[in-house]
C-alpha cells in the first residue's frame, strides 16, 4: 500500500473536489481518496502494481482538472527558481524605493529645516527667513520654495509611499492596523495638509519634509530588513542535490544472465534490481538482496558510524555505499523515498510557518486606533468648544502628523542590524530579523542527540578481556585490536587506534591486512618472538562466519555493553575470542555547561532522538537534560516539534517565552528545524540542516546556543527601548498638537522630536554591541566545576 499526494488545479467548489474523488476512486487498486479543496491537494492510497501514479494523474486530467506538475512540485527546481526570482525582484524594488525616497527627502528636509531654523534666510536673504506673519508668508519667494518642496515630496508620497497604502489597506481590512497604516496615515495627513496650505485653503506651515522623511526612512528600514532575509528553498535545493541523477540497473538478458545499464533515477520502478558500487550513492529506498557493505547514513541520521548492510537489510536513497558492492531491490522510488519525504516535510514546515507579527506592528495595532481616536476627539472638542471648522480640522490633522514617528522606521532594523552583526562576530549567524526576534522568546529547546549533544563519532569507553591466554590485560587487547585496525578507515577502527594512542599503547605490528566489508578486518601479527597469530576484529556476524565460539560469559558481556548504548567490537586471536571493546558516541564536553546555563535562564531542555530509551537516558542524565523523547522515527521529529509548540503555547498563550527551538545537525533534523519556531543548526552539520534552520552556530559548541539566546534577548530589549524612544517624543507632542499650540511652534518641535528620537534609537542600538560578551558564559562556580568532567567511564579491567 502506498500513498501519494498530488497537487490539483482547477477546483473551484466542493462539487469539484467531489468530482475528483469520484474519478480517482473508480480506478482499480485505489483504496482511498481524500481531496482537500482549500489546499488543492489529493491524498490517494493505492496498491502499487495494480495502479500507478501516472494512471491516477490521467484520471484526474480526464475529469477536467489538472495536476500542475509532478508531486515533487513542492521542492522542484522550477518552483525554487520562481520564488528566488520573485524575491530578487521584490528586493530590487524595495531598493529603488528606498533610494528614490532618500534622494528626494534629503533636499526636502534640508531646505525646509534650513528655512525654519533661519539658515536659509542668512544665505539667500530675508525673503527666505522663517515666515514671521501672514504677510511674509505670502511672499512670492516663500511660495516658490513651497512649490519646490511640493515637487520634491510628491514623487516620494506617490512612489515611495505606494506600498504603505496597499499593505496598510490590507491590514485595515483584516482588522489589524499595523505600522504601514500608521505611516500611510501620518504621511498622508502631513502631505494633504501641506497641499491645502499651498493652495491657500488654510493658513499655516507646510510639512512636506515630514511626510517625505518618514516615508524615506521607513522604506530604508524595510529594505535593510528584507535584504537580511535568507533565501527560502535553499534547504530543499541541497536535498535535491543528494539524490543521484542516474542509477545502475540490472536487466535480465534473454539467456537469463544480468546486464548492467545506466538509467535516469526517474525511470526506476518498484522491484527493479539495482547495484551500488563503493563510493556510489544509493538511488532508491530498497532491500539488499546480495552483497555486504557498510553504508554511510550520516546525512540522514547524523550517526557517523557506517551501518553494516547485508541481504535483507534496508537501504535509503541518498546514502553513500562505502566498502562493498551491494545489489538491492527498489522498494520505494521517486516521491516515496525517505529523502523525498524529508524534502516534503521541510517544504511543508517552511510553508506552514505563520509570519510573525513584528513588535513594531504589535505596538502599532494599539497606537493607530488610539491616535485616530485622539484626532477625532480633538476635532470634536474644538468644534464643541466653539472653534471654527477649519481650526478644528487643522488641529486634528496636526495630531495625525506628529503621531507618526520617523524613528519608527529605524527602531527595529537598527537594533536587528547591530544584533546580527554582533552575532556574526561571535560565529552565530541569524538568517533574518524574525529569527533574532523569535529566539528571545524561546522557552523550550529540543536537542538532537547524535552529533549535536554528542560528538557524533565513537570513542572507546570499555575494554573487556575474555580470554587471558590471548591477551592478559585490557591494554594488551587494545594493542592487538589497534594493530589490526590501523590500516582501516572505518570510524570504529580509527576510534580503537586513537584509544591506544591516548593510553600510550604501542599497536602490535601487523601485516597482510584484509577488510571484509560490513563485518570487520583480519591481520597477521608478527611481534618479537611471537609466532604468527591471526587477529580478527569485527562484529558478532564476523565471528559467526569465522566459526569463533561465543560462550555464555561473552554473550553476557556483549549484552551488558549494548545495554549501556555501546557498539561492541569483538577481538579474536587464531579463532578464539580474546575480548570485547565497547565504543560509544560520547557527549561533547561543553554540552553540560550549555545545558546548565540554559536552565539558569529559565529554559526547559529536551532530548529528541531516534536511539533506544536506555542509551538516550544515559546521555540525558550525564548532561542534566530535563526530558527525553527517545525512539522517534526520522519522519516524526517535525511532528513532535509541532506538538511541543502547541503544548508550550497552550497554557500561556500570551506569555513572553512560549516558543520552541530545535538544535540539530542531520538531514533527518531538517524538517524539525524548519518546523520549530527557531531552528538552530550546528555548523559542522549537513548543509541541508543549515539551510532549513534559522540560526547557524559556526563553532560546533553548544555554548553558542546560550550566547544566541542572550544576544536575542538583548536585541529584543533594544528593540523595545528603541520603540519607546521612537514613540516617546511624538507622544509628548500629541497633547500640544491637540491643544492647538502646534500651530506656532510646530515645525521646530517636529524637527526636534525627529532628531532626538533618531539619535536615541541609533545610540541605544550601538550600545547593544557591548551587551553580549564572547567566550566565557555567565555561570556559577559550581556549574563551571561540573562542566569539566568529560566522561567518567574509564576502561575497566574485566575479571579473568
Amino acid at each position: 500500500m502506498s500513498q501519494v499526494e498530488l497537487p490539483i488545479s482547477g477546483m473551484t467548489c466542493a462539487n469539484c473536489a467531489r468530482a475528483v474523488e469520484r474519478a480517482v476512486k473508480k480506478l482499480p487498486g485505489v483504496t482511498s481518496v481524500n481531496v482537500n479543496l482549500a489546499s488543492e491537494r489529493a491524498t490517494v492510497e493505492y496498491t502499487p502494481g495494480v495502479v500507478s501514479i501516472a494512471h491516477i494523474v490521467a484520471a484526474i486530467r480526464k475529469a477536467g482538472y489538472d495536476v500542475p506538475a509532478q508531486p515533487a512540485d513542492l521542492g522542484s527546481r522550477a518552483a525554487l527558481d520562481a520564488t528566488r526570482a520573485a524575491r530578487q525582484a521584490e528586493l530590487a524594488q524595495r531598493r529603488r524605493r528606498a533610494i528614490v525616497g532618500l534622494l528626494l527627502a534629503l533636499p526636502t528636509f534640508t531646505l525646509s529645516m534650513g528655512r525654519d531654523l533661519g539658515l536659509l534666510g542668512l544665505v539667500l536673504g530675508p525673503a527666505f527667513a522663517p515666515p514671521g506673519g501672514h504677510a511674509a508668508h505670502q511672499a512670492s519667494e516663500q511660495a516658490v520654495l513651497n512649490w519646490l518642496l511640493f515637487a520634491l515630496a510628491l514623487p516620494v508620497q506617490l512612489y515611495v509611499g505606494w506600498p504603505f497604502y496597499t499593505h496598510g489597506y490590507t491590514a485595515l481590512r483584516n482588522g489589524a492596523p499595523n505600522m504601514d497604516v500608521l505611516v500611510a496615515l501620518g504621511s498622508s495627513a502631513a502631505f494633504g495638509y501641506s497641499c491645502a496650505v499651498l493652495l491657500g485653503w488654510v493658513d499655516g506651515h507646510v510639512y512636506f519634509e515630514t511626510a517625505a522623511v518618514i516615508l524615506a526612512l521607513i522604506s530604508l528600514g524595510k529594505y535593510l530588513e528584507a535584504r537580511a532575509k535568507g533565501q527560502a528553498g535553499a534547504a530543499i535545493e541541497r536535498l535535491l542535490d543528494l539524490t543521484p541523477k542516474t542509477a545502475r540497473r540490472l536487466r535480465p538478458r534473454a539467456d537469463g544472465s544480468l546486464e548492467e545499464e545506466d538509467v535516469p533515477v526517474a525511470s526506476i520502478n518498484i522491484g527493479d534490481l539495482l547495484v551500488a558500487r563503493p563510493g556510489e550513492r544509493i538511488a532508491a529506498d530498497g532491500v539488499v538482496v546480495a552483497g555486504h557493505s557498510a553504508v554511510d547514513e550520516s546525512m540522514i541520521t547524523g550517526e557517523s558510524v557506517p551501518r553494516d548492510k547485508g541481504p535483507g537489510d534496508t537501504v535509503i536513497a541518498g546514502t553513500v555505499n562505502r566498502e562493498g558492492v551491494l545489489r538491492y531491490e527498489a522498494a520505494r522510488v521517486g516521491q516515496d523515498t525517505v529523502l523525498a519525504q524529508i524534502v516534503r516535510l521541510v517544504a511543508q514546515a517552511q510553508g506552514s510557518k505563520a509570519p510573525i507579527q513584528a513588535l513594531a506592528d504589535r505596538v502599532s495595532a494599539v497606537f493607530v486606533p488610539a491616535v485616530m481616536l485622539i484626532a477625532i476627539g480633538t476635532f470634536a472638542a474644538w468644534l464643541a468648544l466653539g472653534g471654527d471648522f477649519q481650526r478644528a480640522m487643522i488641529n486634528a490633522v496636526a495630531v495625525l502628523v506628529v503621531a507618526c514617528p520617523c524613528a519608527l522606521g529605524l527602531a527595529t532594523p537598527a537594533a536587528i542590524m547591530v544584533g546580527m552583526g554582533r552575532g556574526a562576530e561571535l560565529g552565530i549567524l541569524f538568517r533574518n530579523s524574525a529569527a533574532l526576534e523569535q529566539a528571545a522568546r524561546v522557552g523550550l529547546i529540543a536537542f538532537d542527540k547524535t552529533g549535536t549533544l554528542t560528538q557524533g563519532r565513537p570513542t572507546v569507553v570499555e575494554v573487556v578481556v575474555l580470554d587471558q591466554t590471548c591477551a592478559p590485560t585490557p591494554d594488551a587487547l587494545l594493542a592487538l585490536a589497534a594493530g589490526a585496525e590501523q590500516h582501516s578507515e572505518h570510524p570504529l577502527a580509527q576510534a580503537i587506534v586513537e584509544a591506544a594512542k591516548a593510553r600510550a599503547i604501542q599497536p602490535t605490528p601487523t601485516a597482510q591486512f584484509r577488510a571484509l566489508p560490513g563485518m570487520g578486518v583480519f591481520a597477521v601479527a608478527h611481534s618479537t618472538g611471537d609466532n604468527q597469530r591471526t587477529i580478527a576484529v569485527g562484529s558478532a556476524r564476523l565471528m559467526a562466519q569465522q566459526g569463533v565460539a561465543l560462550d555464555e560469559r561473552a554473550e553476557a558481556q556483549i549484552a551488558r555493553l549494548q545495554a549501556r548504548g555501546c557498539t561492541v567490537m569483538l577481538v579474536a586471536v587464531d579463532g578464539r575470542l580474546a575480548g570485547a571493546i565497547g565504543l560509544r558516541d560520547t557527549a561533547r564536553p561543553e554540552s553540560r555547561t550549555a545545558i546548565a546555563a540554559l536552565k539558569q535562564r529559565g529554559i526547559r531542555t529536551l532530548m529528541l532522538t531516534g536511539d533506544n530509551a536506555p542509551a538516550a537516558r544515559a546521555v540525558a542524565e550525564e548532561l542534566g537534560i530535563d526530558e527525553v523523547l527517545a525512539e522517534v522515527m526520522p519522519g516524526e521529529k517535525a511532528a513532535r516539534i509541532a506538538a511541543l509548540k502547541l503544548a508550550a503555547a497552550a497554557p500561556r498563550r500570551r506569555s513572553a517565552r512560549a516558543l520552541v527551538a530545535m538544535v540539530g545537525d542531520g538531514i533527518n533534523d531538517a524538517p524539525a528545524l524548519a518546523e520549530a519556531d527557531v531552528g538552530i543548526a550546528i555548523g559542522s552539520g549537513t548543509d541541508v540542516a543549515i539551510e532549513a534552520a534559522d540560526v547557524t552556530l559556526m563553532r560546533s559548541d553548544l555554548r553558542q546556543v546560550v550566547q544566541a539566546i542572550d544576544l536575542a534577548r538583548a536585541t529584543a530589549r533594544g528593540i523595545r527601548q528603541n520603540l519607546f524612544w521612537a514613540f516617546f517624543y511624538n507622544l509628548l507632542l500629541i497633547p500640544l498638537a491637540a491643544l492647538g499650540v502646534f500651530q506656532q511652534y510646530g515645525p521646530i518641535l517636529a524637527a526636534g522630536a525627529m532628531a532626538s528620537s533618531s539619535l536615541f534609537v541609533v545610540g541605544n542600538s550601538l550600545r547593544l554591541r557591548r551587551q553580549v560578551r564572547g567566550g566565557e558564559l555567565n555561570l556559577s562556580a559550581q556549574q563551571k566545576a561540573g562542566a569539566g568532567q568529560i566522561r567518567d567511564d574509564a576502561p575497566s579491567t574485566a575479571l579473568g
Binding site: 473551484t12 462539487n15 469539484c16
Partner: protein
Amino acid sequence: MNTTTVFIPNISCQGCVRAIQAELCDLAGVLKVEGDPQTRQVTITWDERTSWEAIRERLIEINYPPAH
C-alpha cells in the same frame, strides 16, 4: 434522438459542468452535453441506446440531481 434541458441547482462553476460532461459522456448513447454555470442549465442530447431515466440516475449518483 432526444434533447432535454434541465436546471441543476448544485452547479456552481465551470468545473461542475465539466464533471457532468465527463460523467454523462461515459454513458453509451449520450451524444452531447452542454452547460452554463451561470444559468445552471444543462442541455443533454442522447439516442436510443440510453434513456432519460438512466441519465437522471447518473446525475443523482454524482450528486448533481436535476430540479423537478
